[in-house]
């Protein structure tokens, strides 16, 4: 839709580690019984990725699934595909207690990429980012500085961060400051 703008409208910081706001992304918060085959299959068919294990996110471009809690999964689709996805979920889970709600615009997605991306995140989040503990596909709901954030490793040099839309400015500037602080030289592959 021509009226729709993401929180930071694709703002970019270019450095050894780059940060860019990834624009609008469709996100559905789905709560329900995660063991249900119907639930898993609608999620995987909407996104084309495997259903994630605890602490994991599977993504393919803008589509993906992230494990949020024992009764919640985040379903990521194209921003203009949310209504259709909600309808498919409602159909698949008809008669089953669940909540599927569009949270696309409540969030911002920031992509952090570069050789010391682990350091940048570890400066802000109390999470073990050692490659032995946090590899591609690993996902955490934690915090960045003073705000809630979730993030996952896309590949060894790329992390996707989701934060609330209202604090996207703060999160972007915080990541930028962490990137500008340079590498720490602690993690083996950084």
């Amino acid at each position: 839709m021509f009226n729709a703008v993401s929180a930071l409208d694709h703002r970019t910081f270019a450095g050894d580690v780059t940060i860019r706001e990834d624009g609008l992304r469709g996100m559905i918060s789905l709560r329900g019984d995660m063991s249900l085959a119907k639930l898993k299959s609608v999620c995987t068919s909407l996104t084309g990725v495997a259903f994630p294990a605890q602490g994991q996110a599977n993504s393919d471009g803008a589509q993906g699934l992230a494990w949020m809690s024992p009764d919640e999964v985040l379903v990521m689709v194209a921003h203009d595909a949310v209504d259709d996805a909600l309808a498919k979920i409602a159909k698949a889970l008809k008669g089953q207690h669940h909540l599927a709600v569009n949270v696309s615009d409540a969030r911002a997605v920031l992509i952090v990429e570069g050789p010391y991306v682990r350091d940048v995140i570890a400066k802000l989040a109390p999470v073990d980012l050692h490659p032995d503990a946090f590899g591609p596909g690993s996902f955490r709901r934690s915090r960045l500085g003073q705000v809630a954030a979730a993030f996952w490793m896309r590949d060894d040099q790329s992390v996707a961060v989701i934060c609330f839309r209202s604090v996207a400015d703060y999160a972007f500037d915080l990541l930028k400051a962490a990137a500008q602080g340079g590498p720490v030289g602690h993690f083996p592959d950084s």
Binding site: M1, F164, A178
Partner: protein, 1003 residues
């Protein structure tokens, strides 16, 4: 004279001069110097004045324990007070000034205090400044503030940046001496993820200075080989200039890395705070040498024996040409030997012990050094600098036997293991009488969540003062720690250490042991806070027998060095005075950080624009560009009013109110909390959360609801909309969104976990705009797409549709008393929608308004505001909201609490409107005055103002307040307090001041 020696030191590079300045004097040091060694190389022995008596003070140590050498470092944006010269690495252009003196370091007026010391005994401040009470504020405090305080507070904002770094580790080794390196080697070889932190710039600790031999090689060679081996291990991180600052519960450890203190870059990263979650911590933190307590032991030139040889060996600096060594142990003989071998004079070694025949004393004698056993120092001679020592019998009372001229005294009272980090989280200590020191009791280690130890002390820090035991202990500690974390790959052989055999020391807490009062009152324990042997003895006499009380009474160990060199000596004096054993007196508590860390490192990135997250709505950019005067609401910034031209905030607010009541107002209401509550049991759940009935709300309709805590107090309010059979949307206050979401989750997860309800916070998914005023409908209908007529969308209903080109949910609700709609659109469309409304509203006199206009309009309508009319002690009945308390429901949160006698008391203050007789505005928070006084002699009260405004609509002051039996007293005039003026008379009236019949909104 202190000076640079011809032979070079281990750490310095004489071919690289470094220019710096001290108190405006331009001086030269060399690369590798600390500020202390550079000052000493320039014969600048005097570095500061003491805290209380302003006594001249010189460097006493060579490391983190230094109490005297604190300076102001840098200027302006790089200014830093209390920098310790012994741990400040020299860099080109360093500027330092000494502290705590007036007018100059060399001539200090405050030094008169030393002659007044008879009148400044222990507890002086407590005794002197008690009475009369008003003197404290006007006389004593300003005086003390002026005379106290070492460093100055910075005047300019710090130019540097700081950061945190969060990691986890299997084994964290604190201390990079030989025991720490051995521990790291063992842990690393075992396969554990290992981190080693060393506070200085150099590995190996003091082993190379003390001539240790490891695996048959000089310590220096072993250290280099071990570092090379550790560097090859991908599972090991080595970090210098990184101090283990504190050990906390659950294996949390703070490491304070001084990233660029040694090579500052304007605006660059200065400190990094490592926040480590370690499974096991090995504290290999070494030991601190103790001073000896003899008269005038605080004169510049009286230095710890180990520091004297550190300066010679590491920095090529001698502290004097003639050094007298005074000791109670063999280790200090190393200093004499080092000095002699460097070509310096050692007129005598004064050994308090009656015999000294160990390997080192024999070597000293063989070098031709005179050794006097059974002797002590009666006093040190000199003013601002040592000129000699008076020798006496240690067993006597201080009769002078001989005076020896010298310009340096190297003293050693034995060693105290650094048990701070072991103790931070509860590690206990034992008194080792043979070595006269407290050392960790490994059977009483700090324990983690599993009840098992997570800290091990190792090496010297564990009481193993000799190389062989120390390095073996370090290796064993590293291996054991790795094993606990599940890593037990085969480690190599433990290193073998050796050094000179030493005879036992003899504890000496006072020199001479029978020192007179005159000598004791000049024998310093705490050099920074000026606490002497006589002060601790006085404290004991006056009944401060607990070590914690004596500490606070005398200020022993309370200075910025936290008593690193004074605590053990002080408590030994206390024990002696009390006739108790040292372990019975015990130590004071060791608290983090080990040495002070910068406040900025704790803040990390939270400075300047990142100090606090500021939440922004999709329309925030427009607000800022259009004169918004913001107010904080939680972490949001909401426009209080939009200023136009030169108008004041008050004028802007009045304009906004009048325009909304006559044309159209626009409010960014996006910050209001929006919670989706859904599920088969959602109606039942909301009936518990709200005081009124929500389960019966028909789909498509809205209802105003109240939420109470289980104690009955009003907690939040808002409009609830029924979306479908299973789903409600609950609006909360702006500040309540996260709190009420958590409140709902709390009840669902902990109490009613079997109810089928899900809650989602969609506050930020939606941008919400209130369109308010007589032209509101016309404006919205001009956008097209939805029928918003009175018939199609009556008051307190909502509808979904497309308004113009926007996906909209329109609520017909009003918080202003005007015809009003709130429209929610997806946040991504929020700004475009706002812009569209402004454009289309031009024809309808549209004007955005801020939170103050919102508050005034609701007050004109007598509508309450959570946080104004409520403060956590108010129940709905106080606000005449009985109509919202369901009588049909069996239960809801707060229902039973409302039955308590105090809640049902007819004497509670209740909400009324208030109108001043003269039309003025009542002061916010003013109390209604009642007759008489209470038990405390204070005037009685009968109510208070909760909201008060100038109403631009009515052109007079209006207020709401809580008044005793208020609703029964309509028309009565009561008086309100008015600070600095006469009480103000106001009439009790109906709180609805405007459009009582609701005709304006019902069109």
């Amino acid at each position: 004279m202190s000076t640079r020696l011809a032979r070079t030191g281990r750490f310095i590079n004489k071919s690289k001069p470094v220019a710096f300045s001290f108190n405006g004097r331009n001086l030269k040091g060399v690369a590798g110097d600390t500020l202390a060694s550079a000052l000493l190389a320039n014969d600048q022995m005097l570095v500061g004045r003491s805290f209380k008596y302003h006594r001249p003070r010189g460097v006493i140590a060579s490391g983190a324990e230094e109490p005297n050498g604190l300076v102001n470092l840098g200027k302006g944006e790089s200014f830093e007070p209390n920098a310790r010269v012994t741990t400040t690495e020299l860099f080109e252009g360093l500027t330092a000034t000494s502290q705590n003196h007036f007018p100059s370091l060399e001539f200090d007026v405050g030094a008169i205090n030393t002659h007044l010391s008879r009148f400044l005994p222990a507890g002086f401040y407590y005794k002197m400044f008690m009475f009369p009470a008003p003197f404290w504020k006007h006389v004593y405090e300003p005086f003390i503030r002026k005379s106290a305080g070492l460093g100055k507070a910075p005047k300019q904002r710090d130019e540097n940046t700081y950061e945190h770094f969060n990691i986890e580790a299997d084994v964290l080794v604190i201390g990079g001496g030989i025991a720490g390196l051995a521990a790291a080697l063992a842990a690393g070889q075992s396969g554990a993820r290992t981190v080693v932190m060393e506070q200085t710039a150099h590995w190996g600790g003091r082993a190379p200075v003390d001539g240790a031999v490891i695996d048959g090689k000089p310590a220096e060679d072993w250290i280099a080989e071990t570092l090379a081996a550790l560097s090859e291990m991908p599972n090991v991180t080595l970090r210098t200039r990184c101090m283990g600052a504190g050990v906390y519960d659950h294996g949390f450890v703070l490491g304070y890395e001084r990233v660029s203190d040694h090579a500052p870059q304007p605006g660059g990263l200065k400190h990094r705070l490592w926040r480590v979650r370690a499974k096991q911590v090995v504290t290999a933190t070494g030991a601190i040498e103790r001073p000896l307590s003899f008269a005038t032991n605080d004169l510049p030139g009286v230095v710890l024996a180990s520091a004297v040889r550190d300066y010679v060996v590491n920095f090529g600096v001698s502290l004097g040409d003639r050094t007298v060594v005074v000791t109670n142990n063999d280790d200090a003989y190393r200093t004499a030997i080092t000095l002699k071998e460097a070509g310096l004079e050692v007129p005598a070694i004064i050994d308090a012990r009656t015999e000294a025949n160990g390997e080192l004393p024999q070597k000293a004698r063989a070098l031709g050094i005179r050794v006097e056993t059974g002797k002590g120092i009666a006093s040190v001679k000199g003013g601002k600098r040592v000129t000699g020592v008076a020798i006496c019998a240690q067993a006597g009372e201080g009769a002078v036997l001989e005076e020896i001229s010298c310009d340096c005294v190297a003293m050693s009272g034995g060693w105290s293991p650094i048990v701070h980090l072991w103790s931070h989280c509860g590690g206990k200590l034992n008194w080792d009488a043979d070595q006269a020191m407290f050392r960790p009791d490994l059977d009483r280690a700090p324990t983690g969540a599993d009840g098992l130890p997570f800290v091990t002390a190792a090496g010297v820090a564990n009481g193993h003062l000799f190389t062989a035991e120390g390095i073996a202990d370090g290796f064993a500690a590293g291996r054991a720690a790795a094993k606990v974390t599940g890593h037990s790959q085969k480690a190599g052989q433990a290193p073998m250490g050796e050094d000179a055999a030493e005879d036992p020391l003899e504890p000496v807490w006072l020199m001479p042991q029978g020192a007179s009062y005159k000598l004791r009152s000049k024998a310093w324990l705490d050099f920074q806070n000026d606490v002497k042997v006589s002060d601790v003895q006085l404290a004991a006499q006056e009944g401060f027998e607990s070590v914690e009380h004596a500490k606070r009474y005398t200020t022993l160990g309370m200075a910025t060095d936290q008593g690193k060199i004074s605590n053990i000596n002080g408590l030994a004096i206390l024990a002696d005075q009390l006739g108790a054993e040292i372990p019975a007196v015990g130590t004071t508590t060791f608290r983090p950080p080990y040495t002070p860390i910068s406040m900025a490192s704790i803040a990390g990135p939270a400075q300047r624009d990142l100090f606090q997250p500021v939440r922004k709505t999709p329309m925030s950019g427009w607000h800022t560009a259009n004169g918004a005067f913001y107010e904080p609401v939680g972490q949001w910034r909401r426009p209080y009013a939009y200023l136009r031209g030169s108008e004041t905030v008050h004028e802007a607010v009045n304009r906004e109110v009048v325009n909304a009541r006559t044309n159209t107002g626009l409010l960014d209401a996006s910050t209001l909390g929006k919670l989706i509550v859904s599920g088969p049991d959602a109606g039942k759940f909301l009936d518990m959360m709200y005081t009124n009935m929500m389960s019966t709300l028909p789909v498509g309709k809205c209802r105003y609801g109240l939420m109470c805590t289980e104690n009955g107090f009003l907690s939040d309010d808002g409009v609830v909309a029924r979306i479908d059979d299973n789903t409600w949307l609950c609006h909360t206050t702006t500040g309540g969104a996260e709190r009420i979401h958590a409140w709902m989750e709390d009840w669902l997860q902990c109490e009613w976990w079997d109810w089928q309800v899900y809650v989602a916070n969609v506050t930020e998914q939606l941008a919400q705009v209130a369109v308010v005023g007589p032209n509101a409908r016309k404006l919205l209908e001009s956008l097209g797409g939805m029928d918003l007529s009175k018939e199609a969308l009556p008051f307190m209903q909502w509808a979904d549709g497309t308004l113009g080109s926007f996906d909209a949910r329109v609520y017909r609700i009003s918080f202003s008393g005007e015809l009003s709609y709130e429209i929610a659109v997806p946040a991504s469309q929020g700004r475009a929608f706002w812009d569209k409304l402004l454009e289309a509203g031009e024809a309808f006199g549209i004007m955005p308004y801020g939170t103050e206009a919102l508050h005034i309009m609701r007050a004109e309508k007598g509508l309450i505001m959570i946080g104004d009319e409520t403060d956590g002690t108010i129940i709905p009945q106080d606000l005449n909201l009985q109509w919202a308390l369901s009588k049909k429901k069996e239960d809801y949160l707060g229902k039973r609490a409302h039955l308590r006698s105090h809640m049902a008391d007819p004497n509670r203050w209740k909400l009324v409107g208030l109108e001043t007789l003269d039309g003025s505005v009542l002061p916010d928070g003013a109390y209604a005055i009642a007759d008489g006084v209470n038990a405390n002699g204070q005037g009685n009260t009968q109510g208070r103002v909760t909201s008060t405004y100038f109403s631009p609509t009515l052109k007079k002051g209006i207020a709401m307040g809580l008044v005793h039996k208020g609703p029964d007293r309509m028309g009565e005039v009561i008086s309100f307090t008015n600070i600095g003026g006469e009480p103000i008379k106001a009439r009790i009236v109906d709180p609805v001041f405007y459009d009582k019949d609701g005709e304006k909104q019902n069109v």
